[in-house]
Amino acid sequence: MYSNEWQPTASLTNLRQRAELFKSIRHFFDQRNVMEVDTQILSHCAVSDPFIDSLSVEYRPHPNAEGQFLHLQTSPEYAMKRLLASGSGDIYQLGKVFRNGEVGRRHNPEFTMLEWYRLGFSLEDLMDEVEDLVKTQIADLPWRRVSYRELFIDVLQLDPFTASLQELQYACRQQVEASFDDDDRDTWLNLLMSHIIEPQLTGAVFVHSYPPSQAALACVHPDSTGAQVSERFELYLDGLELANGYHELANPQEQSQRLTADQQQRALLGLPQRPLERRLVKALEHGLPECSGVALGVDRLLMRMLKAESIAEVIPFGFERA
């Protein structure tokens, strides 16, 4: 063990900036009459997304009793939507979320997420608000909005909605050495996005209108060409993925089908089967108000504000020293 391992990974200057950022975020939402909530971190159910692995912890009624596994939230989305369906109105949450196995320069298994929901907001309205919030912290960024399709055509001369699996693989292998095979188009789209497109995104860029296969919990609707697109955006700051927003899916049948489809994909991939949040479907049956919501990585925002190279530089104790 190194003798300095007791020390924080962030400088005190950065920690003061972090505290200022929290204060400023709370002020931003307070001024807009958005209520702060703090939903549970520990849940009986887990996220269904096959590519997000929950941390499971053993809950015991008594230290010697047999335990049951509960799951740390990977985002407060399910719980916040249950609040929205109960009539909470506009809400935000600033708190810790957990994702198993995610460690790197831009990832820490435990990180701080800001998530908020706005009633009656379109996806465009929400992009405006995200822009307002980020501008309170970083004033000199150029801003633009581009659809997922336009972006791929612009950078790769490839239509991500119509390109065949072979075309996507070929485009990847031209520029990225990867020997694995995969018959999921999204794997190749994600590889192109993360390895080739993201590094070229300068300034603040909203990418929107994702393929329906990447809708997650966003509404899907036909665009002007008749193609199905999902009402989802991602915000990148100089190629750093910062926020993910949806015009929220409110249809309970569709929600239920997506949970089931995720679970089936998990089974196919040999991934753990964890309890699905069926109470979300019940909440949607009761009625989710028309709304848009977004989750923003607060540590990453701070990284960009402070021009930090690694996430450990902006959190008190990075994973290795936690």
Binding site: F51, G101, V103, H107
Partner: protein, 187 residues
């Protein structure tokens, strides 16, 4: 041999790729908010020296390489091979020109040298960061010129040629930084 899966990759890990031992120089976790994780690795092929990037899916795994860095004593060169000895076991290994590369000009008999072995055979030789070597040939020293700049070539006992200050004489021992090949001071 053991296998490493992509989520176990870390800097310095030695693995087999396309039949050659490789070392991981930089490992980056790449994960879109929605979608599969990748591990992007900057690798060095330990045989050819080639450095390049390769991307793995998190469920991919690769075979580890039996690569070991050992400190051995340099014995001598017979012109074709460079001979080293493990001073605790007295076992000897011989490295060829490919494995020695640029290190040859910094090897002094009896110095401890880091030799990288793959399946027991030397594939790379790394000299110490600093070596002390004697000047065997250089122009006569310029007296009284100890502070001014200016330099001249000097040939060292190993055959290496370095730029040295004008006041250095034949027979002096010099401290050299092998990473830059530059004169540091008198030893």
């Amino acid at each position: 041999m053991a296998n490493y899966s992509a989520n176990q990759f870390k800097n310095g890990l030695k693995v087999m790729l396309d039949g050659d031992p490789c070392s991981m120089l930089d490992v980056e976790f790449v994960k879109p908010g929605k979608g599969q994780a990748f591990t992007r690795v900057k690798m060095r092929n330990l045989i050819t020296g080639r450095v390049w990037e390769r991307t793995f899916k998190s469920n991919e795994s690769i075979e580890s390489a039996d690569v070991m860095d050992t400190d051995l004593e340099y014995l001598y060169s017979d012109g074709e091979m460079w001979h080293f000895m493990d001073t605790s076991t007295f076992e000897q290994v011989a490295a060829d020109q490919n494995a020695i590369g640029d290190a040859a000009k910094w090897l002094k008999e009896q110095d401890k040298i880091m030799v990288t072995l793959w399946n027991g055979n030397p594939i790379a030789v790394t000299p110490p960061n600093f070596v002390e070597l004697e000047v065997v040939e250089t122009d006569p020293g310029v007296k009284g010129d100890t502070a001014q700049g200016g330099s001249k070539p000097a040939t060292l006992s190993t055959g290496a040629i370095v730029r040295v200050p004008l006041f250095i004489e034949i027979g002096e021992k010099l401290r050299i930084d092998t990473r830059s090949g530059e004169y540091v001071s008198r030893a």
